[in-house]
């Protein structure tokens, strides 16, 4: 699909922004759960 040629700049920016936000959310949840377990494991 040669989609880039079909999408206007605003939509491309929206796609990029949504992707980055969702990826950061996923990464944040991963780190948060491990961090909370680390906190719980403190003596």
């Amino acid at each position: 699909m040669s989609q880039d040629g079909h999408l206007d700049g605003k939509r491309r920016r929206n796609i990029r922004r949504t992707t980055i936000v969702l990826a950061l959310v996923a990464l944040g949840i991963y780190v948060a759960f491990i961090a909370s377990a680390v906190m719980k494991a403190q003596p």
């Binding site: 929206n14 796609i15 491990i34 719980k40 494991a41």
Partner: protein, 532 residues
């Protein structure tokens, strides 16, 4: 959607010069949502057969009391890997495949928003399951602690543990990327005029499922990462000897594990919500309520996880909370079941194979739902926990639930994919064999569980012999029936009566996918349709 009017050019025919590449490179490098959807579906079918073969090893061993065919360690490996393959390799990729194929077609998008990531997600999944299957051949055997991978038992796994954990990480990353792609596509590439509340239910259920995936797959990844560090790097997250807590793992696992159930079943709800109106020749009853019910189920799935852990022990208030919140899920689920029934009410019904599978879903998923409600009752769960009753319950939800919905979807949309009608006579034989054998397979397991037969054991008391024999006969019958499904799919892909663009008489104004030719051209919606 049934009142939706579609204007404008909906299918591009001027793109013939941009057809697929030839040979193996087409499949390795494709970024086309239809190709990737097909690859996901073929992959999930292969995994379905591999995981099914493992289930048959289990059922063959349980055909009679006593040790017949395999040693207990291998039996445990089979139950574990069967579950991991069916959950992460068969059901989830099948719904992702259907989403890849149908979401762009249903919302009028030219493709997924992130096509290269789409390709990467698929091949990552293939790598994950290659690793998982290879782990069976490691010294000490494959993973054998159950799909929940509870410590400390799982930490006794041999060299297969890091391989299996790496496979789970890869499959999780693949799922998260797939989910991001689906959300980004739906939020950014809908055709002009297609507001959120005009989207087909399948798209809605997938959107909510994708949010669930992003919320819980990292949780599972975190849990198995901690297992890995406990095993190899001296941490004691889940080891009581070092101040850790094995129950913490169970909480984290089920915080992922319960929404995971809805990740598998919500797209199935979407499929049934597409099929029942088509073969009832009516609009879906209560569209808005169906959307809100789906969202409610997704929300509630986050606050019920400890119902899997009643027997671990918890304060009475906690037990009450998780018992009542679990029962609450029956409300939005009931809304769905009643709305599907109301859609059929006074409809002009016909019973082609997709409708038969959807109706079987309606009856049999409801049985699984009711047995789930029974186990939500904490004092009663103490008797059912870790018995064959739970095995019967979740198999009713996942096989005549999720798997039947996937089969219904394949029969429903296959003419659009291939341009050919499938063999209706053979498909009906497949349906009846599947519907009969699935009940012969799983219904007796309720009796076994109520009589006290524990799950995950290779041998059992002779009092359980009769129903185990019946269940195993059902298992082999169900497995053989699926070979007919494979034959029907191959036959349809190779030829058959030509399908019309609309395919089904009742598919009037019901989704943009029916406005493109059959088979769907390699490129569709290069000019966005306008939905009014």
């Amino acid at each position: 959607m049934s009142a939706t009017q579609i204007h404008g050019q909906v299918a591009a025919h001027g793109h013939a010069d941009h057809g697929p590449a030839k040979g193996i490179m087409r499949w390795l490098t494709t970024t086309n949502h239809k190709d990737i959807g097909t690859m996901y579906l073929v992959f999930s079918l292969i995994m379905f057969l591999v995981g099914g073969a493992m289930a048959l090893v289990v059922r063959a061993e349980l055909f009679m009391p006593g040790m017949q065919l395999v040693d207990p360690q291998f039996f445990n490996t089979m139950t574990t890997v069967h579950a991991l393959i069916m959950v992460f390799g068969a059901v989830m990729p099948a719904t992702v495949g259907l989403g890849n194929w149908m979401i762009p077609l249903q919302i009028g998008a030219p493709d997924m928003a992130l096509p290269r990531m789409n390709n990467f997600s698929f091949w990552l999944l293939v790598s994950a399951f290659t690793l998982l299957i290879l782990s069976l051949f490691m010294p000490g055997g494959g993973p054998a602690a159950g799909w929940t991978l509870y410590p400390p038992l799982v930490l006794q796994t041999g060299d297969a543990l890091p391989l299996a954990i790496f496979a789970i990480h890869l499959a999780g990353a693949s799922s998260i990327m797939g989910a991001i792609n689906i959300i980004v596509t739906i939020m950014n590439l809908r055709a002009p005029g297609m507001t959120l509340l005009k989207m087909p239910l399948f798209v809605w259920t997938w959107l909510i499922t994708a949010y669930l995936l992003i919320a819980v797959m990292p949780v599972f990844a975190g849990a198995v990462t901690m297992l890995l560090t406990d095993h190899f790097f001296g941490t004691t997250f889940f080891a009581a000897s070092g101040g850790g807590d094995p129950v913490l793992y169970q909480h984290i696992f089920w915080f992922f594990g319960h929404p995971e159930v809805y990740i598998m079943i919500l797209p199935a709800f979407g499929i049934v919500s597409e099929i029942i109106p088509t073969f009832s020749r009516k609009k879906l009853f209560g569209y808005d309520a169906m959307v809100y019910a789906t969202a409610s189920i997704a929300f509630l799935s986050f606050i019920v996880w400890a119902h899997h852990m009643f027997t671990v022990g918890m304060p009475l208030a906690g037990m009450m909370f998780f018992m009542l919140s679990t029962m609450l899920i029956a409300v939005p689920t009931g809304v769905k079941v009643f709305n599907w029934t109301a859609t059929m009410w006074k409809g002009s019904l016909s019973f082609e194979t997709p409708m038969l599978f959807a109706l079987a879903f309606l009856f049999l998923f409801t049985i699984g739902g009711f047995s789930g409600l029974m186990m939500a009752i904490a004092p009663v769960d103490f008797q059912y926990h870790d018995t064959y009753f739970i095995v019967a319950h979740f198999h009713y939800v996942l096989v005549p639930g999720a798997v039947f919905a996937i089969m219904a979807a394949v029969y429903y949309w296959m003419p659009k994919w291939t341009g050919h009608m499938y063999d209706e006579k053979l498909a009906k034989i497949h349906f009846w064999m599947s519907a009969i054998f699935v009940n012969v397979l799983f219904f007796p397991q309720h009796f076994l569980g109520l009589a006290g037969m524990p799950r995950r054991i290779p041998d059992y008391s002779t009092q359980f012999a009769d129903w185990n024999m019946v269940s195993s006969i059902g298992g082999f019958g169900f497995g053989l029936s699926q070979l007919l499904f494979v034959y029907i799919v191959i036959k349809c892909a190779r030829g058959g009566a030509p399908a019309t663009d609309k395919v089904w008489e009742g598919a009037f104004n019901h989704g943009l996918e029916w406005t493109v030719p059959s088979p769907a051209p390699y490129h569709t919606f290069d000019e966005a349709p306008v939905v009014k």
